[in-house]
Amino acid sequence: MPKETVIGNGCIAIAFDSKMNIRDFFFPRVGLENHLIGHLLRMGIWADGSFRWSDDGWMIETEYMPETLVCRCRAIIPELDIHLVTNDGVHHSLDVFLRKVIIRNRSGSSRKVRLFFAHDFHVYGDALGDTVMYDPALHSIIHYKRNRYFLIGGITGQKKGWHQFSTGYKEQPGREGTWKDAEDGILEGNPIAQGSVDSAVSFELDLQPSSMEIIYYWIACGRSMKQVADLDLEVKKMGVEQLLLETENYWAAWVNRKEIDLYRLPRNILKAYKTSLLVMRAHADRQGGIIASLDSDILQFNRDTYSYVWMRDGAIAALAFDLTGFQEVTRRFFQFCDKVITEEGFFHHKYSPDGSVGSSWLAPSGPQGLPIEEDETALVLYALWKHFQKYRDIEFVESVYPNLVLKTTDFLLKYIDPETGLPRPSFDLWEEKYGIFTWTAGTVYAGLKAAAKFARVFYHRDRHEALCLASRHLREAMVKHLYDPDRRRFVKAIYMDGSRDTIVDSSASAVFLYGGFGPREVVVENTMNSIFDKLWIGKGIGGLARYEDDEYQRVSRSVTGNPWFISTLWLARWHIARTQSMMQLKEGLDLLSWAADHSLPSGVMPEQIHPFTGEPVSVSPLVWSHAEFVIAVCEYLEKHQEISIALPSQG
């Protein structure tokens, strides 16, 4: 199930499904330890002898409150005649999840209503050796294992604590968990359980006809009992209401950094732009890693997830953050890159947020080829140059220059085939094939150019000349080997047996995205027109497939593939880059609108969507989708300004 919303503060990250269940709970590193791995923190309600969990007939709408990283769900439970509104946030500086629930009794009679919260923690990602206990002094439930503690507290608006609680066993024959016991509306009060365990708590409310009541609920996270007890005290002192207001204001202030004048954007795009930045921020770990997606449900290969730092995704997110003024986030990312770069100067396939090498399916291929995706290395270098170009923070760049910049530069130079002038083989950006790809060549070109500019800044003249020469040769080699004059476009790849992969692939957009060729050069025009002709989902809901006959998560043979956000946004960026008039600029704007309008109702952008229904397919959210959207918006605004100045009477 795709994730409808994500929230976080750089230490905690939480993802919700569309049924109001929390499905992913990371702490203390974003993307590292998932203490739920898809299991549920769920909410249920009991009234008049009937019980309903939130995924049992509730009608739910989920959204972010505008311009902030607090989400809101509105739920109607028709069978019980009850309406609920929840606000969920993670405090921006305290490691605590906060929830406010407003419950309305829509019936004309007085009722006793019980609200239940059930906790299926798998601390450290498994259900072995957990403990859950009730602490009467704190009036809290605490789940813990080794150095991870989760304290659950709550209070009603009338200052009543919870009504009942229980702890118990799960995932064993005859022991489904306390959540099952809750369905009779009663919790037994068992104070402690150890092993494979869970817990539930309930609040009891006496609701008058057509009245409402509020419940506040929180989960304090820490490395020790003392830490969570202190946090619990802080929450009780400050109150959830106040802490949520602080969180709302913090993120509103964060997202409204006045770097760019946004008022020319249509409302749907403006909203998607701000939501994108906030969703991206929720994926940024405080130690620098930027996670591709917090959605653990998508098991890409062999029970593995997207909760890793891919340098490609991270670098593109860094480009977006830098364009919009969030240099603190990108500096931490580049420091992370500086920490994990190999001695040889390349990045591995992916990393865990603690900097360790992530799991991989890229097989080593012969003496010449490395099991890497070379574009990941090149894009980090390119993003770092764009960062420096904007902020001119020479002292920061100097701190990563000897290791990150020089090592990656030397690697890119060495990893060029002297015979062809192209990069040596590596895996493609889609992580499917091994060869020499137009995308990779385009990004390596950008990396070499960036390295050349750094060499000039640091007055390394020989290095500068060598890099300029290499980038020039690479550009020529791309035309010679990767451009097909018969088809009048760049091809996808050359494989190890010398064959060319001539299918149309949207990733050939790299030839203009990263500066190798101008957007109005004939070779680019032809390539991008072919991409549109072959990959636009004209029979369906529009958008661009990533390549012809794409089998990954394919749902229909009547179209060439599912629409992907990143591919569609590359097309938008090409329209924006090539245009010279307001009228032409609209082609790019329409594609930005397409992306905004096909996001989830919350504003979250998946990787790809169903070609006919628009339902998310595969991972959701995907930081890369959001980052490409932000970059495209910035490029649109820049071009709008450029055209307005050139043609003031038409502006």
């Binding site: 409150m65 505008p66 311009e67 902030t68 207001l245 709302e248 204001n249 509103a252 409204n256 006045k258 004048d261 008022y263 909203k271």
Partner: protein
């Protein structure tokens, strides 16, 4: 002192949009062709009012649903307690100007 904020066509009838002028965030709402300028953030908790809903002359905050009268900034429903600041405006040659004062009420 009156400062130029935007053109009179930047906000269509029935629409509202936020503009920034120095450090002020100003909401411009177009009620049947009449432009009204108010502070852009809710007086309760700072929500972006341009993201709220506008029905007739009533603006609803997108975070906690306070309601304000767009013509004079008065609070129609809490939790907001303080009215929104309303800016004096002038229209000239297709441009909208707003009067900006400092905290002591002096022109800046």
């Amino acid at each position: 002192m009156f400062k130029r904020l935007c053109t009179t066509k930047d906000v269509s009838p029935g629409e509202r949009k936020q503009f920034d002028l120095k450090e002020e965030e100003i909401l411009v709402a177009n009620l049947k062709g009449q432009l009204h300028c108010l502070e852009g953030r809710c007086s309760h908790a700072g929500a972006p009012l341009a993201e709220g809903s506008l029905e007739a002359d009533i603006l609803t905050c997108p975070w906690h649903y306070s309601q304000f009268k767009i013509t004079n900034g008065s609070v129609l429903r809490g939790p907001a307690a303080r009215p929104l600041q309303v800016y004096r405006t002038e229209e000239k040659d297709g441009q909208l100007f707003v009067e900006i004062k400092d905290r002591k009420g002096c022109d800046i």
